[in-house]
């Protein structure tokens, strides 16, 4: 199956989402329409509980879409089997609020776990080291997470998310656990890498100081897209 890459990384039409069953059923997303062009850095903000994480997990093929249409990297993911969803996820880089690194593995090994997904074991170490170096961790590749600072750990997590050159990166409050300066550093590095490789980034953040890295800022309030503002770069 060949697919011609369109200029849109994510296309969302009339997407709604509900948690719970029966009387406890609660709608958290209402008729979302959203297009993310390739290469764009989009920041999503909004009050806590507005549905940002839920939307991110839907785009990331981590939840099953209930209503509406969702195309990720030119593939309609509504109705895909679990196994097919796993394949979609391999083209997406995830960065979480917590770094979720294996304490038992070195920085390099944590990143190599991602490379191994491609069944390419020969040059995995080289790729991991290269990625870590780009994130300023060249001298930390063989350190375990316990020997790294919070900012360094989050950079290892970013290296793990980006090492396979995913076309789409989803980040949920990646700087929330970091101090001001490391948060800024991490976001700037993400921006540089995304720009140089033409990636699409969708990042949820409450951190006003990092809004300037975005090409576009969208706001979610009570499960509805409230504002959508493009920034002149």
């Amino acid at each position: 199956m060949t697919r011609i890459a369109s200029s849109t990384a994510v296309q969302i039409r009339q997407l709604s989402y509900f948690f719970g069953q029966g009387d406890l059923r609660k709608q958290v997303l209402y008729d979302i329409d959203l297009d993310l062009p390739r290469g764009q850095i989009v920041i999503m903000t909004g009050p806590s509980g507005s549905g940002k994480t839920t939307l991110l997990t839907l785009i990331g093929a981590l939840r099953t879409v209930q209503q509406g249409s969702l195309q990720v990297l030119d593939q309609e993911i509504v109705g895909l089997s679990r196994a097919a969803l796993v394949t979609v996820r391999r083209n997406i880089g995830f960065i979480f609020q917590a770094h979720n690194l294996f304490e038992s593995l070195t920085a390099s090994q944590n990143v190599e776990m991602a490379v191994e997904l491609l069944d390419r074991w020969g040059d995995k170490r080289q790729k991991a080291v290269q990625m870590l170096s780009q994130l300023g961790l060249a001298d930390r590749v063989d350190y375990k997470p316990s020997a790294l600072s919070g900012g360094q750990k989050q950079r290892v997590a970013i290296a793990r998310a980006l090492v396979n050159q995913p076309a789409l990166v989803l980040a949920d409050e990646p700087t929330a656990a970091l101090d001001k300066q490391s948060g800024r550093e991490v976001v700037t590095l993400m921006q540089e890498l995304a720009k140089s490789q033409g990636k699409t980034i969708l990042m949820v953040t409450h951190d006003n100081r990092i809004l300037d890295v975005a090409d576009r800022i969208i706001t979610l309030v009570d499960g509805r897209l409230e504002t959508d503002e493009s920034l002149a770069s």
Partner: protein, 380 residues
């Protein structure tokens, strides 16, 4: 090479790993000891028959095993002697007697064999050394088994004590072993046996031994004897009587059940320990495993990782368990003065290894459900 996640996760928590290895080793040890005793039992039950120079055996159908025998008419042995292929028939008298330790003067039950001194009953030539043959022919004299427990006292030739409240002199020694039925054995002439166990009619015997001519087929002769002799005796070949004795001890008595239960409980203990360790390990790595799933790893990979951890624990626990068992076997042999022939057999070593692996993999399968059900969406 793939990142050895299972190994690294296990070795990261050193204390937990040591506890896990100790737990598996303990279970392995318990299984080895139970199977060792069971094996020794089976072996010692058959040991005595392998030392008789006979091919076919006559027993009363009411005889459960050699030490709880029911006597039958000696006449049957005379009848058997006339059959084609039979070279020689030899009677055995057997029963428990009270032996007084000459030093402590305490009585203890000992198992006594009575034979005709002219019969070459045993394969081992030591039984027929000139000194032993001479002693067998003297009145109120017995040979004593070197494998008898030390509680029976001196085995020195010339020792004088009491058997069944009657003066007896030790005339020599031999090596036989009483297995699980007896702590010690004596061997004496049929005439002496009758004297000590008076009234004991010599026309009733405990076991009839039949030695065949070299070219005759034991199965065929046994079948012919069974067809011709009255039903107050059963006819068994050597493998059959060994098997009958073994089956009695293992299946008919509760001994087999007890050791089987021991093995089962050891395995359950092992499964619970390994389950605890794996479950804790999984719980600690839940976020990481969910992240792997989000990245695109399939549940199969996680299952594989947990099973690898289980296999590593199985192997690492088996090795010390095996080594300590060898030591305990040795200790048991020396504590029983060789009377309990407990030893490692490679079939058992392999069986326990496979059992340990299955035990650990079972624990892995139980504990892994948690990872498989992990929802990557909940990581955000």
């Amino acid at each position: 090479m793939k990142t050895p996640l299972a190994l690294l996760n296990l070795t990261h928590e050193k204390t937990r790993l040591l506890v896990a290895i100790a737990g598996v080793a303990f279970a392995v040890l318990l299984v080895f000891m139970n199977l060792g005793f069971l094996g020794a039992l089976a072996k010692s039950a058959s040991q005595i028959y392998s030392q008789f120079d006979a091919d076919v055996f006559l027993l009363s159908p009411q005889t459960l095993e050699i030490s709880t025998n029911k006597a039958f008419p000696r006449e049957r042995l005379y009848q058997a002697a006339g059959f084609a292929g039979v070279e020689r028939t030899m009677p055995i008298y057997a029963g428990y007697g009270q032996w007084r330790n000459p030093e402590t003067r305490k009585n203890r039950s000992i198992f006594v064999f009575g034979i005709n001194p002219d019969d070459p009953v045993f394969l081992d030539p030591e039984f027929r050394s000139p000194q032993n043959l001479d002693a067998l022919r003297r009145p109120d004299t017995t040979l004593i088994d070197r494998l008898s427990r030390p509680e029976f006292g001196s085995q020195q030739a010339g020792t004088i004590t009491e058997l069944e409240r009657r003066r007896v002199t030790v005339g020599g020694q031999y090596v036989l072993g009483g297995g699980f039925a007896a702590d010690g054995t004596l061997l004496m002439s049929d005439q002496n046996f009758r004297r000590f166990f008076d009234p004991f009619p010599l026309n009733l015997i405990s076991v009839g031994l039949i030695k065949l001519q070299p070219e005759s087929d034991p199965d065929r002769v046994a079948a012919a004897l069974a067809a011709a002799l009255p039903k107050d005796v059963i006819v068994l070949t050597k493998p059959q009587i060994v098997d009958r004795e073994r089956t009695y001890w293992i299946s008919t008595t509760s001994i087999g059940f007890i050791f089987g239960l021991g093995v089962t409980i050891s395995c359950i203990v092992g499964v619970i320990i390994v389950y605890q360790i794996l479950y804790t390990d999984i719980a600690d790595h839940m976020k990481q495993y969910a992240t792997l799933k989000a990245m695109g790893y399939r549940s199969g990979f996680l299952v594989q990782t947990v099973i690898q951890e289980a296999i590593i624990l199985a192997v690492l626990g088996y090795i010390p368990g095996f080594i300590i068992s060898l030591g305990l076997y040795e200790l048991t042999r020396s504590a029983t003065a060789g009377g309990l022939p407990i030893g490692m057999e490679w079939e058992r070593a392999l069986f326990v290894l496979l059992l340990t692996l299955s035990m650990c993999i079972l624990s892995a399968v139980i504990s892994v459900r948690k990872v498989v059900l992990a929802d990557p969406a909940e990581v955000f």
